[in-house]
Each structure stands twice: as C-alpha cells, then as structure tokens.
C-alpha cells in the first residue's frame, strides 16, 4: 500500500512503524467537556506513542488549559511518571494569567516544563496583550519555546499577532500550532520572514495540500510534527505526511530532524538522548 516512490512509506506500511523516530510537538491529555476520547489518559497515550515510535510528546493537559486552580497538576504528574517521554507546556489561561506564578512553576520544575502554551482564540485575548508580556520576556531570556494556537483569520492569534510577537521577542522559538488553519498558505506567507517561527502540522494534515503549501512557502526545515493527540491519532498524521507530495528527506525533517535541532539546545533533551 502507498509504496510508490517512497521507501519510508513502504517501510511504514510494511511494518506499521516509521524507520525514524517521531518528535510530537503538540499533544494534549485527559478528558474534555465537549468530546469523548477513546484514550486520553497517560497510559493510553503512551501506548500509542510506543506503537508508533514517538520518542517525545510535548503536551498540555486539557485541565491545564481550562482549569486555572488545579490544572497544572495534570501536566506535572504525567511528566514525573514518564520523565524521558513527556514534557509539558505550561498552560496560559489568558483571562487568569499569574505570570510570576507560572514562571516560578516552570523554573522550579525543569523536569516537567519545556515552555508555555497559548490558546488565545479560546480566551479572546490577543497574543500581544500586556498580560502575556512577562511570559514572553521570560521565554526570550531563556530561549524556551511557546506553542501557539494559530488560525488564519483570528484577531487573537492570526498572522499579524504572531509577527508582532516574533519581532518583539526574537529569541523565542514560536511554534505555530495548526500553521494558521483555514488559510495555511497565506498565514505562512505572512509570517515566514521571522526566523524564530516554526510551523506545526496538527489539523493542517486534515486537508490535502496543506503540507505541500507550507513546504513550498517556508521549506520543510521549519516544519514540526504534531498530532493534538488524542484528538488525532498519530497514525493519521503520519499517513498524511506519507501521502503528501514531498520527499522522504522532507519527511525526515518534519518527523524528527527539525525537532531534534530545536530541542538540542536544552540540557534536559541532550541528557535524555545520551542515556
């Protein structure tokens, strides 16, 4: 199945696994009020990661995105249980930002946190809102990444807002979750001049042509693999990439090489990969 022209696809469809590791930069975990997930607990997600050869999953628990009182615990506990497989983005609930507290959380638990996750559309607060400034300043000083929910027509996390933040905080790796869905090509075109912007594929893989559009506009060296696990199965996104009109070398960039390049600046990653 799907073997024509791609040894990587051939290997995957023969063995059910890629011949390279996967670094997944966009996951979630735990229950959600509007959706039934077949497997959203930590062990269920690890099972999928093991089956599909996912080396690392960077995630934010749904609880950490919606519950400002005790949500972060649902980031902390899974990472402490699987310290060499999971890393969390600290949730930024824009209407309840406690910047000092959030920075302290991240500083005090390097074994848990990789950066921050911004979900501005949901809270109807712009990325460039002053409430977010201390968080971006911290990320800019430390070089830690921010995962942004990005959508093309959004006044909160559309291309204009992302460029504003990218120019203001040039040392923050800004991972554009969903790569400006709805109009991916235009979103990438408007933002690609900023070298600290990365494009992540969650949900973009749902529509044929999006992967190719990002690759044409920005090259595959800036694309990161992501799934929104458990929203999308890892296999679905892997399959989409294997069917996209790009080369196996491009696919390797996306599945792991780019992510490895991005994470290699962090001690926790280097140490874990050495073990």
């Amino acid at each position: 199945m799907m073997r024509a022209g791609s040894p990587m696809a051939q290997a995957f469809f023969d063995n059910g696994r890629l011949p390279c590791p996967i670094l997944d930069f966009h996951g979630h975990m735990h229950e959600h009020p509007s959706i039934h997930f077949a497997a959203c607990d930590t062990d269920g997600m690890l099972k999928t990661m093991d089956r599909m050869g996912v080396r690392w999953l960077l995630f934010t628990s749904h609880r950490a995105m919606y519950d400002p009182t005790e949500g972060e615990w649902f980031n902390v506990a899974p990472c402490r249980r699987y310290p060499n497989r999971l890393k969390a983005y600290h949730g930024v609930i824009s209407r309840y930002v406690d910047a000092d507290g959030a920075i302290k959380d991240v500083e005090n638990a390097p074994e848990v946190y990789v950066g921050f996750k911004f979900l501005c559309d949901y809270y109807e607060v712009r990325l460039s809102d002053e409430r977010h400034a201390p968080l971006f300043e911290y990320l800019n000083a430390t070089g830690k990444p921010a995962l942004l929910h990005t959508w093309s027509g959004s006044p909160y996390n559309g291309p204009d807002e992302v460029v504003k933040i990218a120019e203001r905080y040039p040392s923050v790796p800004l991972i554009c979750g969903h790569s400006f869905m709805e109009d991916v090509r235009s979103g990438v075109r408007q933002t690609k001049a900023c070298p600290n912007i990365w494009y992540e594929l969650t949900a973009a893989t749902h529509f044929r042509g999006n992967v190719e559009a990002i690759a044409e506009e920005a090259g595959t060296e800036r694309i990161l693999f992501g799934t929104d696990l458990p929203w999308y199965a890892t296999s679905y996104n892997v399959g989409a990439l294997l069917g996209a009109d790009i080369t196996d070398a491009d696919r390797e960039n996306i599945f792991w090489r780019n992510g490895d390049r991005l994470l290699s600046r962090f001690d926790w990653y280097k140490q874990a990969e050495l073990e």
Partner: protein, 256 residues
Amino acid sequence: MQTMRILDCNLSYGRPIDRPRCAVCADFDALRAALDSADVDGGLIFSLSTDVVSVMEGNRRASADAVSGGERFRCVWTLTPSVTGETPAPETLREMLAVQQIGAITFRPQIGRFPATATYVGDYLEMAQRCKIPVVLNVETGITAEQIDHLLSDFPALTVILGDHVELWSISRRFYPLLERYPNVCLDTSSMFNDQGVEEAVRLFGSKRLIFGSGFPLRYISAGIAYIGTADISDEDKARIFGENLIGLFEGMVGA
C-alpha cells in the same frame, strides 16, 4: 500491514467552486490515477457536478464513469423529492441499479433546498429499506443528526453509511447511539481520526459496522489508510473495514 484489498466509500471528483485546487481531482481519470498510486482498488464515487451543475448531470456522469471504470467502481446517486420528476421514481430507480452501477443513494438537502424528512424522501427510503440499497447520510450535506435519527425511527432497517465532516470531534457521542439502536447503520471511517477511535468502535459494534472511507481528494487518502491499517485490531477486522463490508453491501442489494 498485510496487503489487502481496499475499497473507499467516500471518493469524489470534479471541480467544486469552494475548494482549493490542490484538494481537487478534476475528473474521473485523475481520481483513478490517484487511487492506483495509492494502491486503492476502487470504491464508491460521487461526481461533484451534482453540486455545480445539477443532480441529473451529476448522476449521469457518475454512472458513466463508474461503468467506464469497470466492476471496481460503483456510484452514488443523489435524489430529490420524486414528485418534481427530476430523479427517477423509486421503482424505476430500482430497475436502473445494475445498469447504472449505482452502489448507494444520497440526498443533499442543503444545496437542494429541501428537508430530508420522510415526507420529502420517504418513498425512496421505503424502497431502499426493502431492497437493501445503502443510503449515504453525511452531516456535511445539511442533514442533521436529529433528522437522521427521525428517518431511522421511520425506517429502522435502512442500510446507512453514516458520515460527518462538520462536527469533527463528536462522532462517538452523536453517532454511536444510532449504531447501537439501528442494526444496519455503518460508519464511514473518513469521519474518524481520534486516537484509538477505531479500536473502540470495533469493540463496541464489531468491525462489520465500519466502512473504509478517506474523503479523498479533500483529505490525504494515505491518512485514512494508515489510521485503519495500524489500528490495534485483527487483520480480519481490517479486511472487513477496508473492503469486505462495502462489497457485502453491494452484493446484498436486491435487484442490483
């Protein structure tokens, strides 16, 4: 993954005005070439001329292309309320099934501007239930889950291929109760992509209730294949989902 026959219940072609060019197969030849390169054997085809030109033109084209494609293709015919005479009366339609290579019927109430209720399409559904003709009901065409439930309460033995490309994340809560209640309702897997969703559906309803669909060319066909092909279910289950179930529906049609 074992090599197995793949038939796809959700294939379309043509030039819709509201899609980017990259997500289009301009004609049946382009669709067939894409399927060949993806090792997909055939399936159920829908001509988007239905939405761009007319139901009559879409049906005519889909049948002509299915016939030209040989036995591996069947087509979906779109129907409007029979009283207007635009589509054949139910018994006439039944007699046309084999010659026109019709594998399923459907309604597109949003574009067609009529409610998909028993008053409007009940005569077709009565015939479809009696003759076991699959009815494709996809929420993206403007029919709601509530309307589907009402239709099924009127025609509880109807064979349905159920799909939803709109409310992507609530398939299980909205459709599983329909699968639980109505024994001939099947799920088009192009509506499924959440993690371990296939495994759960097979556990709850058995693999005979799932029909492989990709949504190609709007979706990457390889994504749907990978989703089913790597699921933690048996090879027998995968073979059913990938093709045997759809063939079974075709073979079960009375008079086709």
